[in-house]
C-alpha cells in the first residue's frame, strides 16, 4: 500500500525554499510512519535561498504534548520537550542550512497519529506547516 511521506513545504516565503520532514536517523530518508520505542529525526531545511536581500526566519516546531512523540536535542540526555525553535539568518549567495532534533516515539502506542506544527515567521509573513505523523 502506498503511504504518504511525512513532509511539508512552505509556500509563502518568496526567494526561500523551506521543507520540513520526519526522517529515519540511519538512512535520513523521509519516513511514512513512526513506531513506538523508535528514535527519528525532525528536520527543517532551508534548501535554496535566492533573494539578494537578507531574510530572517523564526521557526518553531510544536507538539500538543509529549505523551507519544517528544523532541530531544541530539547528543544530550536532556528532558523531552514538546517544542523547539530557532532562527535562520539568510544572506545572498550563502548556504542556508538545516536544523534537526531527535523525535522520540514513546511506548506504548497511545494514538494512531500525532501532529507537529511548524510555524515560520518573517517580516510580515507567517505560515503554519502541519506534519501528520502516523504511529504504526
Amino acid at each position: 500500500m502506498w503511504s504518504k511521506k511525512v513532509k511539508a513545504k512552505a509556500k509563502h516565503f518568496p526567494g526561500v525554499e523551506i521543507e520540513t520532514r520526519v526522517i529515519d536517523n540511519d538512512s535520513l530518508e523521509t519516513v511514512t510512519a513512526v513506531k513506538p520505542y523508535g528514535a527519528y529525526g525532525h528536520s527543517v531545511e532551508i534548501g535554496k535561498f535566492k533573494a539578494v536581500w537578507p531574510v530572517t526566519l523564526k521557526i518553531g516546531s510544536t507538539l500538543k504534548d509529549t505523551q507519544q512523540l517528544a523532541f530531544r536535542e541530539a547528543g544530550t540526555s536532556g528532558q523531552d520537550a514538546p517544542a523547539w525553535e530557532w532562527e535562520a539568518n539568510l544572506f545572498p549567495n550563502r548556504i542556508a542550512g538545516e536544523e534537526k532534533r531527535l523525535l522520540i516515539c514513546a511506548s506504548p502506542k497511545r494514538r494512531k497519529h500525532d501532529a507537529i506544527t511548524v510555524r515560520i515567521d518573517s517580516d510580515g509573513r507567517g505560515e503554519d506547516l502541519l506534519l501528520k505523523v502516523p504511529i504504526d
Partner: protein, 224 residues
Amino acid sequence: MNERPTDEEPVYPHVRLDTREIDGFSYVIADIGSLRQSGVTRDHTRLIGLKQRGVAGHPLVYSDSYSGMRDDLYIYARHRVSQKDFFSRLDAFLETTLPNFPELTGKPLLFSFQVDGDFVDVELSLPLLRNIELPLDQIDFARLSINVGDIAVEFNTTPVISSQETAFTQKGALRRQLESPLFGFDASRSDLWASFLAQIHWASGLISKKILQTLIRSAATVKT
C-alpha cells in the same frame, strides 16, 4: 505593520545619520556600520525620505555590502508593479541594453521562478512575456542570473509599507523590518540596473526619475 517604535520591535541600534540633498530633494542616509551575524559581516545603509509629501519617513533604497571571500554589494527597494508589468518592462530594458553586451547577445537568459514554494529553472529568450510558460500571476519570486549583475524580484498581494522610519532614526535606531515586495540587484560590478529600478520603484510617481536614479546609484557608494 506597527508604524511607531515600540520596545518589542527589532531594531539596529547605534545608527549614524547624514542628511543630504539632490536638486532640492532632501533625504537622510542611515548607516548601521558593520554587523556580524551568523558568520557573515554585512554593512547596511538605508536612504530615507525627509521632507517631501508622500516620501517623508519612507525608506527609499536599501544597500548591503558583504565582506569576505567575495565583496558583494546589493541594492534593493520596494517596487509597485505586477508580474505582467514587471516582465513587460524587463523585456523593453533588456532589448535596449543587451546589444551593448555582445557576449550576452543571442544567449538564453537563465531564470529561476518560484511558484507555490518550489523553484523552477528555465532558459528563456526575449520577449519574456511571450516565452514564460508559467501563469504570470502565480510567480511569487524570480531571479535572473546574468553576468552584468543578478536581479531578484518578489511579488506580494499586500505590500508591506513603512512610513515612520524617521521616528526610529530620531531615537538612534533603524527598524530591522524591510518593506516588500522588493526588487534588488547585484551592484558589485555595475549599477546597470539602477535605471530599471527607478522605473518600477514605489516612489517613481513622486520623485523625478533623475533623482531616483541618482539616489539608487549613490546607495552603492555612500558612507556616512
